[in-house]
């Protein structure tokens, strides 16, 4: 059996507030403690309470986490809320369906030919304890199917409910045990549990932690889905390390507060999503012009406008690359997966500091809000570049020309290096200037400093050596790599190139990585094929490339990409 076949995917759906996410969290945490690997994707409707929510578990033998293409097991607490996920949760005759037997099966499920097990879920939960809840009963039930000791689930539930009335913990424990004791007539092929030391976290937590570890000590931000949990984590985290988080009145304020702190020499960042990024763009240009280092984490969601706030899409590449007015070179990066948020966010911060530019980091709802079990994440050992001027430089020129284009940056308090940072075009001293020569020289300076840096091998992740090249960025990496594996089985030698650094485009590295490719396919999760058009405009190599661009919210899946390759590209 291939490794892919030994994955097990489980969907638990219910009303928002019914606790299906808690159920998924408990199961994956327990699975992790038993040495297993897995991903918990969280899907929500737009309402906070009373909408629909789904815990989408994928237990795997490896740490390559894509969304499940189909589900081996579906637990529907009710059918109305399940129906809202019909496009996203694919079930087939091989799916085992567990549901409340008091509820009528919808025709689509009844006609599926799948094994359906109806249990009196609600009745059992209520009979077990006055505070009994179905989600805990299902947790116990699934726990026993996944061969997780019920005592471990009870322990984790007690931790989760610490601070709640004791009756809730008793009810949870009783329902978990009751669920675990249910006889369910089925056997599941479980993926092997690898063991070893692991972390359990979301991409948003990974990004927030990485920021603190990289030295961020000031954050200003405005709440926005799906980035708010980055900020909530940082609020507590910054307090631990003596930093400050400022909840701003809007994103216009947030980005400028970050600019103020960074100008003061304190490493600073903000986190937002598409609409917030759109509001920030004018001032990101100010950071470019004033050469102020900062980091903006964009946890992308479906767009344009309010779009689909709770679901994932890679639609902000264009605004990240081209959204600033004027010629405004800056950094754009994208973490490739949940664990990679730890590396990429820190690297972005280091690069921004070293180059005195804003760095835009394109995460998304999929990796931001999914929880995963990962090996200890790789850290960024990129050095902190000290670009302060030598003490008391006479006739200090903040925007001095020459060298790499990076000029020593004094910060307030530095003796005798006083200057005014400016969004107006300026001369080397920083004095406003509208002259052709100052403008050309400063434009060159701001471009050259980005182009003169050697970014090293971390610009992307290259897997395989086949003649078919799948090129993607950010969170599309896992789906592309999954597709490559499936294609390999079909005899199509494939390689994947996942870009971590998007701007400046690592052209030399990309060309070298794609050497010998006969076919190129650019893979991304958006409607307009933004990466495809970017690569075509920058590199002749992509002149004959094909595009696989699919909008969210349905996640990219390896088998869809592989099928496209086999049917359309016929390499």
């Amino acid at each position: 059996m291939s490794e892919a076949a030994r994955e097990l995917s489980v969907a638990v759906t219910g009303a928002g507030g019914a606790g299906v996410i808690s159920c998924g969290e408990l199961l994956l945490q327990a699975w992790a403690r038993c040495g297993g690997r897995g991903l918990l994707r969280k899907a929500f409707g737009p309402q906070i309470r009373g909408g629909e929510s789904a815990a989408l578990l994928k237990l795997t033998p490896t740490e390559r986490y894509t969304a499940a293409g189909r589900y081996d097991l579906l637990v529907a607490l009710d059918w109305v809320n399940f129906s809202r996920f019909q496009d996203e949760i694919r079930v087939d005759p091989g799916t085992l369906v567990i549901c409340d037997k008091e509820q009528d099966l919808p025709d689509a499920i009844a006609g599926l030919g799948a094994q359906v097990i109806g249990l009196p879920l609600q009745e059992l939960a209520s009979a077990t304890h006055p505070e009994g809840r179905v989600n805990m009963l299902v947790t116990g039930l699934l726990g026993s199917l996944l061969e997780i000791p019920s005592a471990l689930l009870v322990e984790l539930a007690a931790e989760k409910l610490a601070g709640k009335p004791a009756a809730y913990r008793e009810a949870a424990a009783a329902c978990i045990e009751q669920g675990a004791g249910q006889a369910v007539d089925c056997t599941l092929a479980l993926p092997p549990r690898k063991g070893g030391a692991t972390w359990y976290l979301t991409g948003n937590q990974a990004a927030a932690f990485s920021a603190l570890e990289a030295g961020i000590r000031f954050v200003a931000a405005y709440p926005i889905t799906p980035a708010s949990d980055v900020l909530e984590w940082l609020a507590g985290g910054l307090e631990q390390v003596g930093g400050e988080l400022l909840q701003a009145e809007d994103e216009l304020a947030a980005i400028n507060m970050v600019i103020g702190a960074a100008y003061g020499g304190v490493p600073a960042m903000t986190a937002t999503s598409g609409p917030g990024l759109a509001l920030m763009t004018e001032s990101i240009g100010l950071a470019v012009a004033s050469e102020t280092p900062l980091c903006i984490l964009d946890v992308m969601r479906g767009g344009p406008s309010t779009g689909i706030p709770t679901k994932s899409e890679q639609g902000d590449l264009n605004i990240a690359l081209y959204g600033l007015h004027g010629d405004a070179p800056h950094l754009v990066l994208a973490p490739l997966d949940i664990a990679d948020c730890v590396f990429t966010v820190a690297w972005s911060i280091r690069l921004a500091q070293g180059l005195q530019v804003p760095a835009l980091v394109l995460s998304d709802q999929f990796i931001g809000q999914s929880s995963a079990v990962v090996s200890e994440p790789r850290r960024c050992d990129w050095p902190v570049l000290d670009s302060r001027p030598p003490a008391a430089e006479l006739d200090y020129l903040r925007y001095r020309l020459g060298g790499t284009g990076v000029s020593p940056a004094a910060v307030p308090g530095d003796p005798g290096q006083r200057f005014t940072a400016d969004g107006l075009e300026h001369n080397e001293r920083g004095t406003p200037s509208a002259s052709q020569s100052d403008h050309s020289q400063q434009l060159d300076k701001r471009r050259d400093k980005l182009l003169s840096l050697e970014y090293g091998p971390d610009w992307g992740r290259v897997v395989g050596q086949g003649a078919l090249g799948l090129v993607c960025f950010g969170s599309a990496a896992a789906a592309a790599e999954e597709a490559a594996e499936l294609l390999q089985v079909q005899g199509v030698e494939t390689r994947t190139v996942a870009l971590r650094l998007l701007a400046p485009l690592p052209a030399a590295g990309l060309i070298a990585a794609l050497e010998g490719c006969s076919h190129l396919l650019v893979v991304e999760q958006n409607h307009g094929a933004q990466l495809y058009h970017y690569l075509r405009s920058e590199l002749a190599l992509f002149g004959s490339a094909a595009s696989f661009a699919r909008p969210g919210p349905v996640p990219l899946a390896g088998h869809d990409i592989a099928r496209y390759v086999l049917e359309e590209l016929q390499p």
Binding site: A32, R33, C34, G35, P149, G195, A197, T198, W199, Y200, L201, Q205, F209, L212, E213, R217, F218, A220, G237, E239, Q240, V241, G242, E244, L246, E249, D250, L252, A253, A254, N256, M257, V258, I259, G260, A261, Y263, G264, V266, A268, E282, S283, G285, L286, S290, V373, A410, P412, G413, P415, G416, Q417, R418, F419, T420, A421, D422, G423, T431, P432
Partner: protein
Amino acid sequence: MNEAIKLRAKDYKSAVKPIWCPGCGHFSVLNALTKALAALAIERDDTVLVSGIGCSSRLPAYVDSYGFHGVHGRGLAIAQGLKVARPDLTVLALGGDGDGFSIGGNHFLHACRRNVDMTYIAMDNEVYGMTKGQASPTTPIDWSNSKLTPHGPGVRPFKPAAVALACGAPWIARGYSGNPNQIARLLAEAIQYPGFSFLHVLTQCITFCPEQTDWKAIVHEREEPALQDEDAAAGLFFHEDGFETGLLYQQARSVWPPERGPVADESAAITALADRFRVAPC
């Protein structure tokens, strides 16, 4: 840095020549500011002037301190971020009526609420000068000298002091460009005040609003001490003519962010945060 020799006001001026028109009221604020900084013997290296866009927002480049000339309307946001991150610095934000009350109006509201320990100077000439004379939020309702609003803005003027009070600003004063010594005195107080001090300065624009030379006859200095009662201040700010100068309102309010003790060991704290992610095998 300890500047060994006592600096005079002119030592706080930079070599950059102002772009302002002759007779512009902003010169008075520049002079008063350098005078106040000299009087308080504030270190130039530890002072930051932050501004947005507009004629008045050009001021930071004219002072020999650190400065940041940002984008339109966001000076207050930059200044607050800087002050919160670097509480050791003396931070002043400044800008015009359009910058502060129109495009940056939301930041003005929330800066008043937040009460970060800094000073905000609004240089109010009731007109957009840099874009050549359009109505601003404080322009009189019937001012018809702009081609953009040839029948006058037709909109009730914004009352900066009343809005500041409603949003919780604890220190509100008003100056007039015809009386730079008073501005200097108010600025010295504003800088020393522990909290968000809002100095509204009527700065005439003789280029686009020559009628403002009449202000000289209208302004009147407050003789009584500053009001401390919010209701009384509301009464004043709603019903006054807008030309009363001096320290008008002052209260004690706790600043943001609240002071927290130093962190003993940052790297131990980060290790502890990482440990929260580690899975305990069973």
